[in-house]
């Protein structure tokens, strides 16, 4: 069964009288457990597509089914619950809360899931350990390197065992060595069955995935299958 089905999804920004089509009639099906790269030039609509997939943005038209549910028909609480339980986000700019230490950042999705303090604490520490940051739980984001921050963000995205990881240029702000480490984490997550979608400009990042979707001017141009 498909985890994700997009039918003629469009996103059009209205800037006064000018209409900016960021995404045009996107049809897409993604299976559970797939490892996908989204590629395309700057401004082509990659982030727009990711935000729609992650229920952070609502399309102007078209239908989006996630795990069989019509996302367009969900209310605020149901959307929040999907973001909390089904999806883990990893952003180019990490998006950690600067005043909370690494553990507290990882605990956030657990708080919204209603997990009790003690268990939250334990799970956050386990997650940090799994991304190789067991000694950094008490560090504030400003006391971590870029690669470490992104690993905290990944630990946070995994807090509620999501089916789907959405990563928008996760290595964009990192040197190649840290970037490679991040991609290794994604590889092993995918091996354990998590569906992963990564936006990237770089071919060597895209090669980690099974397929690459190429976008141009808001349209899906072609889908390329990688041979491994």
């Amino acid at each position: 069964m498909n985890l994700i089905t997009l039918k003629k999804i469009s996103k059009i920004y209205k800037m006064g009288k000018v209409e900016v089509p960021a995404l045009v009639d996107a049809d897409l099906q993604i299976q559970k457990g797939e490892y996908l790269a989204i590629m395309g030039p700057s401004g082509s609509g990659k982030s727009t597509l990711m935000n729609v997939l992650g229920c952070l943005d609502v399309p102007t038209s078209g239908d989006y089914f996630l795990d069989g549910k019509d996302v367009g028909k969900l209310n605020d609480v149901e959307m929040a619950s999907i973001r909390n339980q089904m999806i883990g986000f990893v952003f180019q700019t990490f998006n950690l809360l600067p005043r909370l230490n690494a553990r507290k950042n990882v605990e956030l999705p657990l708080i919204y899931a209603g997990v009790k303090r003690q268990e939250r604490h334990m799970r956050a520490d386990k997650l940090l350990e799994s991304v190789g940051l067991s000694g950094r739980a008490e560090h504030l984001p400003s006391e971590l390197s870029g690669g470490e921050r992104q690993r905290v963000a990944i630990a946070r995205s995994l807090a509620n065992d999501p089916h789907l990881i959405l990563a928008d240029e996760p290595t964009g702000n990192l040197d190649s060595k840290s970037g490679e480490e991040i991609m290794k984490i994604f590889d092993s997550l995918n091996k354990s069955g998590v569906t992963i979608i990564v936006v990237t400009h770089e071919n060597f990042i895209a090669e980690h995935a099974d397929k690459s979707i190429h976008i141009l001017d808001g349209r899906i141009e072609r889908i390329e299958v990688h041979k491994k």
């Binding site: 935000n51 992650g54 952070l56 943005d57 605020d76 609480v77 929040a80 619950s81 973001r83 909390n84 339980q85 986000f89 952003f91 998006n95 950690l96 809360l97 005043r99 909370l100 956030l108 999705p109 708080i111 919204y112 899931a113 209603g114 009790k116 303090r117 946070r156 509620n160």
Partner: protein
């Protein structure tokens, strides 16, 4: 999501992260609460002490006197009126009051002072107590005895200055007639500012009948009387007015004064004053609330990205709303507690300086906490709503 403590700890963390701003935000509430605590406490303490003083005069005390208005004639009160009042079922006790000026002498000391002719019930009606000796009796009054009770001022002037500590048993000359001093009255003890009106009394009290026979004066200035327990001043005034019209003629007029009315009038004036001042305090709390709202709006704008991040991690609108509302309420409550603490200290200091009993109004404390809570909610809800309504992606993209 039900983890109230976690929410509280996070809100406190956010407020602590910006201490200066949190403090400035609270300042308005602190000042408002201080005003409420101080003013209500001092107002209530003052009201209580003044009321107590008024009551010490005898709260059921009343007076009636002959008066003249444009369309009436002056017809003085006489002994029959005294007896009539005494016979009324709603009146407890009666004393006529005749006053005159005479020269008072003891050996070579002279003093011009008011002489008060009263009946023995006068002392009880006025709640007066004896310091030395005794008051005069009905027997002495009925038999025109030349005895007198003196006040503190007279005792000082005529006796103490000349080495006599106990005037009882001595003789003073009032006009041309010798009177036995049989008692010295206790001073009136007042705690409120009313004491400055009373001052030192320099009067001599003698039996009213003695005044009539000795000095040939029978004009009653006013009649003091006490109402029985539970009699309403308004009802007493009404029936006395009509009865005196019947007795003295339709074209007469008699003035009346009731202490209970005075107390009530005073209380209602004080209540109005307290209310106005409380209103001013509430107003400054309101201004403090507007301050909280402004700061919360700034805070929401500054933390737009944070709101986006939280929403991307599963925060609902309600969660975000609650987070910001919590912060507003915590700010205003912290402000209230600080205001209560500082306000109480200031109030106690002021009461100490003016030598009142230390008193902090519990009602004012409850009122300020209640007000501040409401202000936190009312002024926090608008910014909190704004925060919660942000679209996740708009909030995340905010620079």
């Amino acid at each position: 999501m039900n983890d109230f403590w976690e929410e509280l700890v996070q809100s406190l963390g956010n407020l602590k992260g910006n201490k200066t701003r949190s403090f400035l935000t609270m300042l308005g509430v602190v000042v408002g609460v201080m005003a409420i605590i101080g003013i209500i406490s001092i107002g209530e303490a003052g009201k209580l002490s003044i009321k107590k003083d008024l009551e010490s005069f005898g709260s059921n005390l009343a007076a009636i006197w002959a008066d003249k208005r444009e369309d009436t004639v002056y017809k003085p009160l006489n002994n029959y009126d005294v007896e009539f009042l005494r016979s009324l079922p709603f009146i407890k006790d009666v004393s006529p009051t005749l006053s005159l000026y005479r020269e008072v002498r003891r050996s070579d000391k002279r003093l011009d002072c008011p002489i008060m002719g009263v009946s023995p019930s006068y002392f009880g009606l006025n709640n007066r107590h004896i310091e030395k000796g005794r008051f005069f009796s009905s027997f002495e009054n009925n038999n025109f005895r030349r005895v007198c009770v003196i006040t503190e001022g007279i005792k000082k002037e005529l006796f103490e200055r000349h080495g006599i500590d106990d005037p009882v048993g001595h003789v003073v000359k009032i006009g041309d007639f010798p009177f036995f001093v049989i008692g010295v009255m206790k001073k009136i003890e007042l705690q409120s500012f009313l004491s400055s009106f009373v001052g030192e009394e320099k009067e001599i009290y003698v039996p009213e009948r003695t005044v009539k026979t000795t000095f040939g004066i029978s004009r009653i200035n006013y009649i003091l009387f006490g109402l029985k327990e539970g009699v309403k001043p308004t009802a007493a005034r009404k029936s006395l007015t009509s009865m005196f019209r019947l007795r003295k003629g339709r074209n007469t007029y008699y003035g009346m004064q009731f202490v209970e009315n005075q107390i009530n009038a005073f209380s209602s004036v004080m209540n109005t004053v307290t209310m106005i001042i409380t209103l001013i305090g509430a107003l400054s709390l309101f201004v403090g609330g507007v301050g909280i709202m402004n700061i919360m709006f700034i805070s929401v704008t500054e933390r737009t990205r944070e709101i986006g991040i939280r929403k991307s991690l599963g925060a609902t609108q309600v969660t975000i709303l609650r987070q910001f509302l919590n912060e507003a309420v915590i700010l205003s409550l912290l402000g209230a507690f600080a205001g209560i603490a500082i306000g109480s200290l200031v109030t106690l200091a002021v009461e100490g300086v003016i030598k009142w009993k230390p008193y902090i109004s519990p009602g004012a404390i409850v009122l300020s906490v209640f007000f501040s809570l409401i202000i936190g909610v009312v002024f926090g809800i608008i910014p909190a709503k704004k925060a919660s309504a942000l679209h996740p992606i708009d909030a995340l993209r905010y620079e």
